[in-house]
Amino acid sequence: MNDKRTTDNDFDVQLPLDIPLSFAPRESRHGASPSAPHALLAGAQSRLVFVGVCFVIAFAVVALRLTDVMIFHHLHDDQVVENIEQQQRFTQPLRATLTDRTGEVLAISLPTKSLYADPKNILDAKAAARGLIKVLPDLNYDDVLQKLSSERRFIWLKRNLTPDEIYKVNALGQPGLEFESENVRIYPAGSSTVHVVGLTDVDGNGLSGMERALNSALEKNEQTKTLSLDLRLQHVVEREVQDAITTFNAIGGTGVVLDTWSGEVLAAVSLPTYLPAQVSEANDEQRFNRFSLGVYELGSVMKVVNTAAALESGKIHLGDFFEASQPITYGRFRINDYHPVHRPLSVEEIFLYSSNIGSAHMAMQMGTKYQREFMCRVGLCQNLETELPELGLPQIPSDWKDLRAMTAAYGHGVAFSPLQYMRAVSTIMNGGYLTPITFMKRDPVDHPLGQQVMSTRTSELVRRVMRANVTSDEGSGKKAEVDGYCVGGKTGTAEKNQGRHYEKDSRISSFVGAFPMTDPRYLVFVMIDEPKPTKQTYGFATGGWVAAPVVGHIIAQMGPLLGIPPMDENAPQVLAKTQLTIRTQKNDSDAH
């Protein structure tokens, strides 16, 4: 600024149009008119300021825009980026975990990686194949070599590697070996719970069991789902039923434990079973769910329902006698007893001796219409409602003729799934409440759930009869007795219906047991399919010999497991609730 000339000169130089003028100051320095250069200078200055302001505005705009982009828009953009990240992170949400009631994992999804090769990038196929079979011994060298030498750009080598295997493959350092993220469903309990928990397909959709029932909830992965099962109890039931199947060379069996108050299924086993991971090799017999899908003519265990119906009708009381000395002949049918007693039997004796003849007479006396109506009341007519998708429909004919009623009294001509049958018995045991069955854990209850469909009085009477069936010498369920748990129950031996006739040597032996009989909280049902008689059982393969001991074993282990305090069966307050005087014709005549 101190040297104006320089400035002017510079200025003039910068304005090429004014070049002729640039010489003017030099000439005018010594005496030219001062006004003309001054005006020129003023004009130059204003132009300078104008240009300067333009630049400042331009820079300010750029700076403002930068600030805007970096600070304000930046946040906004980041949100977008984060959303995309989130989406990528959760595009394949892991399926929710399923646990049993104690928190044991029954099904869990694991993120895994699957190994594939891009053969184009493989440098030395032979070396790569050698390395691979060393770390993944289940692969075949020739197979791998062929895959690695192929012309394709993508070829699977092994699905779902363990973290250890991934590490080892990475350690090989072979280019061209890549991993693809996948996830796999693991069932830590294996074959034990497969019929309840079910399976998913490769894409993670529930195919069967609770996996299918809870599919949409599990897919959202909101929270862990807790089933009603107790895995420890499930194992006990599985082991005991399997033992019986092995001992009696049976083709299958099922065992279910039900909480009669909450309707929770604590254990449900169907044998034979299979490992979820080997579902492709499982046969139909293994896949079949015998406790809820299988529908069976259950035989004498249905006398629990028949006796309850008789007592509830008000027309029949304990101590009433029915003629059981002669078989009933109805058209071409003949109703006979397995162990004929050849004398009139009281209601409780009919139950204890499991007399078909007596039961049929009871059905006729209470009225066949009432009998069917009672069966509907305890939930045997409607389809069972529970979460499990595999449910067998009850087979209870609507044309309820006399013969039908008489055979239904001892469990033939009508067929139910074990689970549906158990709900009926649970209703009779828990004081008459038709409790909804569930495979999901419920909050603890202090009272049976559901609607009351029969009197508590009848429930108490049937309990006494069932208890007597285990304690008395004549009872068929003696082998189910467990010290301290006051068990009651009923045996059943049904001949299997093969087409149009009943097969004498292919039976279904079953036992339904409840405990403690003072106020039954737990119901255990075991059914063994086609047991063969053994020497140890003196040639018998009936419910009392086959299924009753299994129920006894289950209860003996279940009590300590669930912390159920044992009781003194002979304590007066227990006897007051469980004792029953069995009236027979003999001591009746003694009394007269």
Binding site: V49, G52, V53, V56, F59, A60, A63, L66, T67, M70, I71, H74, D78, E85, R89, L94, E104, V105, I108, S109, L110, P111, P163, I186, P188, A189, G190, S192, L231, R232, Q234, H235, V236, E238, R239, V482, D483, G484, Y485, A556, Q557, G559, P560, L561, L562, G563, P565, P566
Partner: protein, 195 residues
């Protein structure tokens, strides 16, 4: 005028620098956050894998097979080994404690006097000594019962420690598997001691 412009330019450039710097810092923090997110995710995946492994390892079927192979001497708990809490004698009261201390003192005294006497000094003989110190026989009986029970439990615990490592670890597993088992074992032995 120029000065103003310079000041403005300076101000703008300073603010731009600050903004740029902040933006960079935010970006690095975000990268850190992303890394942490990733490591959390990796950790969660690991936890899932370990959970699956743990539950496979402690599945009842596997434990049952292990017990059958390594602990054939173990037998199943029977219902009559179970006791309700109210059937177990209550915890020692202050009075019981004083009797127990008296009993221990007498045992210690005998120990000092003669080593042979230790073998003969049973809870019963100690009780006799204790009986002298208090006039209430029911308190003594209770204290003796409580002491005997404690000894039994202590015996059981020390016995378990003597077992080889594998047995102890499997026992531990079993205990975790079911608190009831452990409870029943202790209660049963305590019950036996009381008898």
């Amino acid at each position: 005028m120029i000065r103003h412009i310079i000041i403005w330019v300076l101000l703008v450039s300073v603010s731009a620098t600050v903004a740029l710097n902040t933006s960079w810092r935010v970006r690095t923090q975000e990268q850190r956050l992303e890394k942490i997110h990733n490591s959390i995710e990796a950790e969660q995946d690991r936890i899932r894998v370990l959970t699956a492994e743990w539950h496979t390892l402690k599945s009842p079927a596997r434990l049952d097979a292990l017990v059958a192979r390594h602990l054939p001497q173990l037998i199943r708990i029977t219902p009559n080994q179970m006791l309700a809490m109210n059937q177990v004698a209550a915890l020692p009261t202050a009075e019981d404690e004083s009797v127990i201390v008296a009993m221990r003192d007498s045992v210690a005294g005998a120990e000092k006097a003669d080593k042979k006497a230790v073998a003969e000094t049973t809870v019963k003989s100690a009780a006799k000594v204790a009986q002298k110190s208090t006039s209430k026989p029911d308190v003594v009986a209770r204290a003796v019962a409580v002491q005997a029970k404690n000894d039994q439990i202590a015996d059981l615990i020390s016995h378990q420690k003597d077992e080889p490592m594998t047995v102890a670890s499997i026992q531990d597993l079993l205990n975790q598997e079911s608190a009831y088992h452990a409870q029943a074992v202790v209660l049963a032995s305590a019950n036996g001691g009381a008898r």
